[in-house]
């Protein structure tokens, strides 16, 4: 019995959400007095791999070969399942990233494991029951899921578990698992980065714009505010439907669900479908010219005013604050 964490890298680096997942997996290992193994696949340097020990891994399996440099869903799933078997791991933790969501179901089948996707808290283990809290109904509620299988696969939502530094000594081992030709049927042709800006799911601060901004030409101030705050930009559904912004920025029930530390909604009314995807944000700020906008009911802070006047002032105020800090 042990715990395995799949440490996904992006261009050879681990993101904060991976360290969160490592800390989370460490805590599960501690609950069960067992050890934590991290498995990394791809091209990651030794220094970076050592960071996995910093956040709690006892051992690191490094899978590095040319064929596996980029993500291949099936092959990666085979390798992670192989690592779980080698380590005798009964619990496999992943980040609930796009890739993580591709892997979790396949791993569940390979390991005959119950799966909790979208986990937001540590498992509770009492009276022989293993339960995990997960998001459900697109953020409108949480479900408590009991896993009844011996093996478990858990995908942790980014920004829902705090990183803990452990500074464990860990040894790194090269590792390989035999993959099948059928694992490589999907072939990567190209990776297109939409921007060099912060991606929505990684962002700690999000500045989001709605139809109240009137048109795509007015997004300059949204981007500027995001830039001064080190934030990602998002939008409501009608905004991406109209082509003012790309679909990848659309948050809500039918878009991306986000849970940043700070969500700033500008010119967004706060429809139930929009709120579904953003309500787990830690702090919500709403800027809307209509004091009756439903968004104010779920906001922590608000400014009733015209975005075209308020946002430039806010940019100036943030700049001033940053300059003095």
């Amino acid at each position: 019995m042990s715990v395995l964490i799949y440490a996904e890298n992006a261009d050879g680096k681990f993101k904060k959400s991976i360290f969160e997942a490592v800390s989370y997996a460490r805590a599960i290992a501690d609950q069960n007095n067992t050890h934590l193994t991290a498995v990394s696949i791809g091209d990651v340097k030794a220094d970076e791999l050592n960071l996995l020990a910093k956040y709690g891994a006892d051992k690191i399996l490094n899978v590095s070969n040319a064929q596996l440099k980029n993500f291949v869903n099936q092959a990666y799933a085979s390798i992670i399942a192989g690592a779980a078997k080698k380590e005798g791991a009964d619990t496999v933790v992943l980040s609930n990233s796009f890739s993580g969501r591709g892997l979790a179901p396949r791993l569940g089948v390979k390991l005959e494991a119950g799966i909790v996707d979208g986990a937001i808290a540590l498992p509770e283990q009492t009276n022989g029951k293993f339960t995990v809290k997960k998001t459900a109904f697109s953020g409108k509620a949480f479900a408590i899921v009991e896993l009844t299988s011996a093996n478990k696969v858990i995908a942790l939502v980014p920004n829902s578990y705090k990183i803990v530094e452990e500074n464990k000594p860990a040894q790194t081992e090269d590792f390989n698992v035999e993959t099948k030709a059928s694992d490589f049927k999907a072939m990567l042709k190209e990776i297109v980065r939409s921007t060099d800006k912060i991606s929505l799911t990684d962002a700690e601060i999000i500045v989001s714009g709605g139809r109240g901004l009137k048109g795509p030409e007015n997004w300059g101030m949204i981007e500027e505010l995001a830039e001064v705050l080190g934030a990602a930009t998002a939008c409501s559904k009608p905004v991406s439907d109209a082509g003012w912004r790309p679909h990848s920025e659309h948050v809500g029930q039918t878009g991306i669900a986000v849970s940043p530390n700070l969500y700033i909604a500008i010119g967004i009314s706060g429809a139930i479908q929009h709120l579904a995807g953003v309500s787990s944000s830690k702090v919500i700020v709403v800027i809307n010219k209509d004091a009756e906008a439903p968004f104010f009911k779920v906001a922590d802070y608000g400014i009733v005013g015209d975005a075209f006047e308020v946002v430039p002032k806010l940019i100036a105020a943030v700049k001033e604050y940053k300059a003095s800090a």
Binding site: F71, N73, Q74, S97, F98, S99, R101, G102, L103, P105, R106, G108, V109, A113, G114, I115, D117, K133, T135, A136, F137, S138, A141, F142, A143, V145, E146, L147, S149, K185, A186, L188, K189, I191, V192, K197, L200, D202, I205, H247, H250, Q253, T254, G255, N261, L262, I272, Q273, V283, V285, V286, A299, D300, Y301, G302, E309, V310, K313, A317, E320
Partner: protein, 245 residues
């Protein structure tokens, strides 16, 4: 080309979610159920891909007879026939297992799901199907085009996308942008009544997960309003009170 679209029956997006029996049951009282919005997108793209007699579309649902309205809606939008596996959709594993048995007996060139169901948001059915059928699975796609026996798909990744080529058959979950949902026309609605809907019984399978309760998010306190002419106060509050910046 034969396409299978997996469809789920979910609470309408405007539904306020509440629970009964000490927060152990989802309160369906007064709740309107709809075709999962992402499945509508999958179906719309399937229609585009088979337009002009290039193929047929079957929709499949694991559900009890209360999902018929949703199945008929899918037929009205443009699916050719439908299958309902007569069982409560216990969890994604159960659902995918049932669908996989059907596909083993009735092969398809392409299997589409939505990226997630808006009730349990699992993004799991596509991957489980892929694994059970030893087919590639791409959980969240933003585009799909087919040329002969090969598809080109765009997979969403953090801050961008990957472009992949995959030989048919495979499984993919569609997200926004893949197609615009299609609204059924009068002819579609009329013909939906007579299109074949086959009901089959489930096979037995062990399941590994159980929803044992629900919670609703803690309500936020009263909003603190900052006057529009004192914007700097907001920054101050975010720093000293919320400790966010």
């Amino acid at each position: 080309m034969k396409i299978l679209v997996c469809i789920s029956n979910v609470p309408d997006t405007t539904t306020k979610i509440t629970f009964t029996d000490n927060n152990t049951q989802f309160n369906t009282n007064g709740v309107q159920f709809i075709l999962n919005p992402y499945d509508e997108i999958a179906l719309a793209r399937a229609i585009e891909l088979t337009e002009g007699g290039k193929g047929t579309i079957t929709v499949i649902n694991v559900g009890e007879n209360n999902t018929e309205a949703t199945i008929r809606k899918a037929l009205a939008i443009g699916a050719d026939d439908a299958v309902r596996i007569n069982a409560k959709p216990h969890d994604a594993w159960f659902v995918a297992y049932q669908i996989a048995q059907y596909i083993k007996a009735n092969p398809f060139d392409l299997i589409l799901t939505g990226r997630e169901s808006i009730d349990y948001n699992g993004s799991k059915v596509a991957g489980i199907l892929g694994e059970l059928l030893d087919l590639p699975s791409i959980s969240i796609i933003k585009n799909i085009a087919i040329d002969g026996n090969t598809a080109t798909v765009e997979r969403e990744i953090e801050g961008g996308k990957e472009i992949l080529t995959i030989p048919l058959p495979f499984v993919a979950g569609t997200a926004e942008g893949v197609a615009e949902p299609k609204i059924p026309n009068m002819r579609g609605i009329m013909s939906a009544r007579t299109k074949p809907l086959t009901v089959i019984e489930p096979v037995e399978v062990k399941t590994f997960s159980e929803v044992i309760g629900y919670e609703t998010p803690a309500p936020r306190g009263q909003v603190k309003l900052v006057p529009a002419d004192k914007v700097a106060e907001l920054v101050e509050l975010l720093h000293t009170e919320a400790k966010i910046i």
